[in-house]
């Protein structure tokens, strides 16, 4: 069967003493070769468009990377990144813990759900950005504002997904537990909480994403702190290359953290029979 199969892998040298890492990278590149091509094409187009001077807002990628090299090691950047990172790291753990706990309570006890639901739904349906001026009024141009905004961004999402996870518990499993006379606590521990794992992790993933976007947008409104503030200042100074460099950095962090959490989610996925 293998003889007649189409070999889509690129020709690999017969030197089989190659270390595993290189062949794995090669394999990965081959599998995603269209995407890689897309990135390359995009990069080339970007460089051409930048050099051609289509717009002051579009510097060539080479200039961006050059400015980036300088910027990413500069003190002002590292300072800003540190501020943003600490804001997120201060706000995330309590938001995640409280969010999951409240979500569990909502899922297990209907009255809790009824009381809390309108607030959670509202905060997910309205433009949460609009609350930033108010937080700014109360806490001023400080890191506290950023932290509070992040908490408000993350908490409802985690709550609602954990709640959905609890509610997604398979009725059959609960019925089985009842038939064996399992007490309420055992059912919650062995059945409801493991069932909720998948959606809870999804909620955490979305929450982490929102902590980054919420934190940065708050910093942009505040204007003087963190990476968001840096972006605003670079824009105001028309330092386009540096601006793009920071944007690339932010995007890369976003992609990396998303990928990391996806990995964790995969590992804990409930293996359907």
């Amino acid at each position: 069967m293998t003889d007649t199969e189409q070999r889509t892998d690129p020709p690999v040298s017969l030197d089989t003493a190659k270390p595993g890492v290189v062949s794995r990278i090669w394999e990965w590149l081959a599998r995603y070769r269209v995407q890689v091509l897309g990135i390359v094409i995009g990069g080339v187009l970007w460089e051409i468009a930048g050099r051609a001077g289509i717009s002051p807002a579009l510097p060539p990628i080479s200039a961006v990377l050059a400015a980036g090299g300088e910027l990413w090691s500069s003190e002002r950047f590292l300072d800003a990144a540190y501020t943003t990172a600490t804001s997120i790291l201060i706000a995330l753990p309590p938001s995640l813990l409280v969010g999951v706990a409240l979500g569990l309570l909502m899922g297990l006890f209907r009255p809790v759900e009824w009381i809390v639901r309108p607030y959670v739904n509202a905060s997910l349906s309205l433009p949460l950005v609009a609350i930033i001026p108010i937080i700014l009024l109360i806490f001023g141009l400080s890191q506290t504002t950023i932290v509070v905004v992040i908490i408000l961004y993350v908490l409802p999402v985690v709550m609602v997904n954990t709640f959905a996870g609890v509610r997604s518990t398979d009725h059959d499993l609960v019925e089985m537990a009842t038939s064996f006379n399992a007490g309420r606590w055992l059912t919650i521990r062995r059945i409801v909480i493991p069932s909720a794992r998948g959606l809870t992790l999804a909620g955490i993933r979305i929450g982490v994403g929102r902590s980054i976007s919420g934190g940065i947008v708050a910093e942009q409104v505040v204007g003087v702190l963190g990476v968001g503030g840096l972006v605003q200042r670079l824009g105001g100074a028309f330092a386009v290359e540096a601006l793009y460099a920071v944007i690339l950095f932010i995007g890369a962090v976003g992609v990396a953290s998303l990928a990391l959490i996806n990995r964790v989610e995969q590992r804990y996925q409930i293996k359907e029979v």
Partner: protein, 275 residues
């Protein structure tokens, strides 16, 4: 015994509230307790604010209502909103259209999708607000710039949902249409598009929400003649009742826009049976 009901979760893992089912549903215990909860929250707000020495940072609920009434009677307020809603409208309409069209193209062609997906993944993980300074450098702060901000916020969401909706029409169904000799265009109109409709409509709804966020971001970050100007003024003057009132109107606008899109979604998908 443990009570486990049923909750709907959309593709992005965000739970949507179940659709309202007429006035009788208002009497359900869930609704009543929910309404009571909000009422209680307002009462707590009012009492707490009254207990404060000064209300510069935290006005009473009633003073916010007073401020709201004052705003509604002020022509400057409506003027500001008009200035804000024009770029919102342009940005929103173009983002919905472009999102669906480009989403359809990317969804139908696996090759195009693979070429584009690294960028989509990048922009999906990126907070869109960091693109605002780029827009300012490129277009300044005129109507085009402001519409572009709204556009950027709405576009990605709509495009992504559309791509997913189209791509997930299973290959089996495509094979089936081809085996009956159905031409591509017809298959698209009769099978693919209807099949992708739920995802597209959901994308339009969520995209509208994002466009509203974009509108607010635009007002907050771009020197503006619209609602943002009001926000800056009231914050600088520490007129908190008016500030809270303006924020409240933004929230109401967002909720209204979403409610309308949800209505539209339900209407377009009315032949769907809830599974």
């Amino acid at each position: 015994m443990v009570d486990v009901g049923n909750v709907g979760v959309d593709g992005r893992g965000v739970v949507e509230a179940t659709p309202r089912r007429g006035l009788r549903s208002l009497l359900e215990p869930a609704r009543l307790v929910g309404a009571a909860s909000i009422l209680a929250g307002l009462v707590v707000w009012e009492l707490y604010a009254r207990s404060l020495e000064n209300n510069i940072f935290f006005p009473t609920f009633l003073s916010m209502i007073e401020g709201l009434v004052g705003l509604v009677q002020d022509p400057g307020f409506w003027d500001a909103y008009r200035q804000t809603l024009i770029p919102f409208f342009w940005g929103w309409v173009t983002s919905m259209l472009a999102g669906v069209l480009i989403g359809l193209v990317a969804g139908l062609s696996k090759t195009i999708w693979k070429l584009v997906s690294p960028y989509v993944a990048f922009f999906h993980a990126l907070p869109v607000s960091v693109l605002v300074p780029v827009v300012v450098v490129a277009f300044g702060i005129d109507l085009l710039a402001r519409s572009s901000v709204v556009f950027l916020f709405g576009f990605f969401e709509v495009m992504l949902s559309t791509v997913v909706g189209v791509a997930y029409i299973s290959d089996d169904i495509r094979d089936m249409t081809r085996s009956f000799g159905m031409g591509s265009l017809r298959a698209f109109r009769r099978v693919v598009l209807p099949g992708a409709m739920p995802a597209i409509m959901a994308g339009l709804r969520i995209g509208t929400g994002r466009a509203v966020v974009g509108m607010v971001v635009m007002e907050l970050l771009l020197v503006s003649v619209g609602v943002g100007r009001l926000v800056i003024r009231y914050r600088a003057l520490f007129q908190s009742p008016e500030l809270y009132a303006v924020v409240f109107t933004l929230a109401i606008f967002g909720l209204a826009a979403l409610a309308l899109m949800r209505r539209l979604e339900v209407y377009v998908l009315r032949w769907r049976v809830e599974s």
